[in-house]
């Protein structure tokens, strides 16, 4: 069983490394990720959102719906923990 797990892990790792051969270099300023969507976030953040912190403006304004989903995830995890862990207290019967 362990051998099967080891083989699976090694194959997955090799596939992932094979995929990185065509990826943009580390720190390349001309990578597709840096040229396509994010220049607008960087350049227009002051005029569209008046927030100098770009991460905040994306998190709370451009992609605010993901933040709503994230807070729902925390709420779900909290209520799930109550649902799983709550035990009815066994009240000791009164001796009479």
């Amino acid at each position: 069983m362990r051998v099967l797990a080891l083989i699976t892990v090694i194959i997955t790792g090799i596939i992932l490394i094979y995929g990185t051969v065509d990826m943009p270099d580390w720190g390349d300023p001309n990578s597709p990720a840096s040229l396509h969507v994010s220049p607008r976030y960087i350049e227009k953040t002051m005029e569209e959102t008046a927030t100098p912190n770009m991460v905040t403006s994306v998190l709370a304004d451009y992609r605010g719906y993901d933040t709503l989903g994230e807070t729902t995830v925390i709420f779900t995890a909290g209520i799930s923990c109550i649902l799983i862990l709550r035990e009815r207290r066994r009240r000791k019967k009164k001796k009479s």
């Binding site: 790792g13 490394i17 990826m23 943009p24 720190g27 300023p29 960087i42 994306v58």
Partner: protein, 124 residues
């Protein structure tokens, strides 16, 4: 070949970390070790994403002396989008860890052991 290693070694380190976590999730028999492996796997994915955001010569994605109007050059700040996505992914990771540990407490209350082999023997 040397170019390949120098330009991509960050991805390879994170993939190795991911595989260590993945092996712990599927190969280990103790349930706590599986949860630790899950944590390592997800953390490595987060680091992998964040490493795609860096730019040579770029600085933090915060405009200093912000409220004066001055031209902003996109190449001098690093990409903020993966950081945002990973903030959400960190929250998801912590929530999954919380629910996993709650399930482990429920298992421990019932079986008083956290080894997978013993629990399977119990159930037979």
């Amino acid at each position: 070949m040397f170019d390949l290693i120098v330009s991509k070694y960050n991805y390879w380190i994170y993939i190795t970390l991911m595989m260590i976590g993945f092996y712990a999730m599927v190969g280990k028999k103790n349930l706590i070790k599986k949860v630790i492996g899950m944590n390592i796997f997800q953390t490595a994915i987060i680091l992998f994403f964040v490493s795609t955001a860096s730019k040579k010569g770029g600085t933090l994605p915060i405009i200093m002396h912000g409220h004066g109007a001055h031209a902003v050059n996109a190449a001098s700040y690093i990409n903020p989008l993966p950081h945002v996505l990973m903030l959400t992914a960190i929250v998801v990771m912590v929530s999954t860890l919380g629910v996993a540990l709650a399930i482990l407490i429920a298992i421990y209350r019932k079986y008083h052991t956290l080894e997978e082999d013993d629990i399977l023997k119990f159930n037979k």
